[in-house]
């Protein structure tokens, strides 16, 4: 991650508008996983569910802590992996919902 221009801060998480500095501060406080950074700063909780930022956050954590990127990238995914309206989740379509 190029630490490009120290003066200017900029977003890492586009959806929730979380900046590089906010993420770095949280890491400095000792939170070294994507999920922890997400829970504190909301980075990755937005409409795109971390698609634009989680890999970048992992790289920032890895660079700042020295942890191997492979280890930091071990994050969990939850269903549904697409954003859906609640109404859609209730009505099960033409399949027998009771069989689940």
């Amino acid at each position: 991650m190029m630490d490009v221009d120290d003066k200017k801060d900029f977003f890492i998480c586009r959806c929730e508008e979380v900046t590089l500095r906010e993420i770095e501060e949280v890491i400095d406080e000792g939170y070294h996983s994507i999920d922890d950074v997400k829970r504190i700063t909301r980075a990755g909780m937005g409409l795109c569910q971390g698609r634009s930022c989680s890999k970048v956050i992992a790289r920032i954590i890895s660079q700042k802590t020295g942890m191997p990127l492979e280890e930091v990238l071990q994050t969990s995914y939850r269903f549904p992996v697409r954003t859906e309206k609640m109404r859609v989740l209730e009505e099960e379509g033409d399949s027998d919902a009771q069989n689940r």
Partner: protein, 364 residues
């Protein structure tokens, strides 16, 4: 009674289409699902002629290969659900699909082939969230699929094949590419691609990156800067470019949400794009009912994705009892040989070794 299918293929791009074709040809009942309103994935943006040999349909444009695959799918009467988003996989076989953003359906599949592709990586710099900064793939989608130029003066960030081919296609669409910057000291893409845009007057800047993008409601200019071996900007080398669009071609990351949420074991392969589901030679993951093919299994090209799709389709159908041993091995080994032919030479060998490392990995 719950809907049932023998093979559910997720993603109708080059890999998914090829997997569905092979599985259907082998006799399995196949359901092909894609979240877009049109199938084909990347193929219908790739207006250039493909590399490889005659077996790989080399010399044919991606858009025409896509059309051929769709015709074959129609002839085989493969069931295709478009505008259908797969939201989850339960018990390693129940595929939860939301159709038209409107209704939930669960399909019990005996085999699932995940061909969900990859997503573009981000490069962050001040101003990178301004309108006018977009993925190189996004620009390619706009010009080749929607026939709209998202801007007039472009800066391309990244000199891999994607960055260079999209730069060439921007010129074909009538845009002007002011520069291609590459952070590494050497250019990434094939020499024949870089030569096409260089002789068209597009300059390359190695060991350069974007320092900042500026504009109020949209990109108006960008500053590029030389970087040292530690990737730090070198003061005094800033160059301001008057551009209205910045395309980011910084590689792709496999889309693995479905595979990992379903429980597939992961393997880390930086060269192939990061975390990928572990898989064996037959493209089967750590979950026996789930196969993968294409960029999800490691970012390569559409031509390798098609061969991996054929291998996955054949393996899935064979595991359900279709094709006798001899039919299966001939078809599978032919596809594998075509794929390995693509994974050779100064560019392909590295990918071949990275894939071999995944397959050789003894799972815990």
């Amino acid at each position: 009674m719950m809907l049932e299918r023998e093979v559910v293929v997720v993603g109708a791009g080059p890999a998914g289409l090829s997997a569905a074709l092979e599985a259907a040809r082998a006799g399995a009942s196949v359901l092909l699902v894609d979240e877009n309103s049109k199938p084909g994935g990347q193929l219908f943006k790739q207006i250039h002629k493909f590399f490889g040999s005659r077996d790989h349909r080399a010399g044919v444009r991606g858009i025409d290969i896509g059309a051929q695959l769709l015709d074959e799918a129609q002839q085989l009467d493969i069931e295709v659900w478009l505008d259908a988003e797969v939201c989850g996989i339960f018990n390693q076989c129940d595929v939860w699909i939301v159709r038209d953003k409107d209704r939930s359906v669960t399909v019990r599949a005996r085999r699932i082939i995940l061909a969900t592709g990859a997503t573009e990586n981000a490069i962050n710099f001040p101003g990178w969230s301004l309108p006018g900064v977009m993925g190189a793939g996004a620009a390619q989608t706009m010009i080749n699929l929607h026939r709209v130029l998202p801007g007039q003066r472009f800066l391309m960030v990244g000199s891999g094949n994607v960055g260079v081919i999209v730069s060439y296609q921007l010129l074909q669409a009538g845009g002007s590419v002011e520069a291609i910057v590459e952070a590494a000291p050497r250019l990434g893409g094939y020499g024949v691609h870089t030569a096409k845009v260089r002789r068209a007057g597009v300059p390359f800047y190695t060991s350069h990156t974007v320092l900042e993008a500026r504009g109020t409601d949209h990109v108006e200019s960008a500053t590029i800067v030389q970087i040292d071996s530690a990737w730090k900007p070198i003061g005094g080398t800033e160059k301001e470019l008057s551009v209205d669009t910045i395309c980011i071609a910084a590689g792709l990351t496999p889309l693995v949400e479905l595979a990992f949420a379903a429980g597939c074991e992961s393997f880390y392969s930086p060269l192939l794009g990061g975390m990928v589901p572990w898989h064996d030679r037959s493209m089967r993951t750590s979950i026996p009912s789930i196969y993968i093919a294409g960029d999800i299994s490691g970012v390569e090209e559409a031509s390798t994705a098609m061969e991996e799709g054929r291998m996955a389709g054949l393996s899935a159908a064979h595991s359900l009892g279709y094709l006798d041993h001899e039919q299966f091995t001939t078809g599978f080994q032919a596809a594998e040989a075509r794929m390995l032919a693509l994974r050779s030479g100064m560019f392909g060998q590295k990918r071949r070794d990275a894939k071999a490392a995944i397959i050789a990995h003894e799972r815990g």
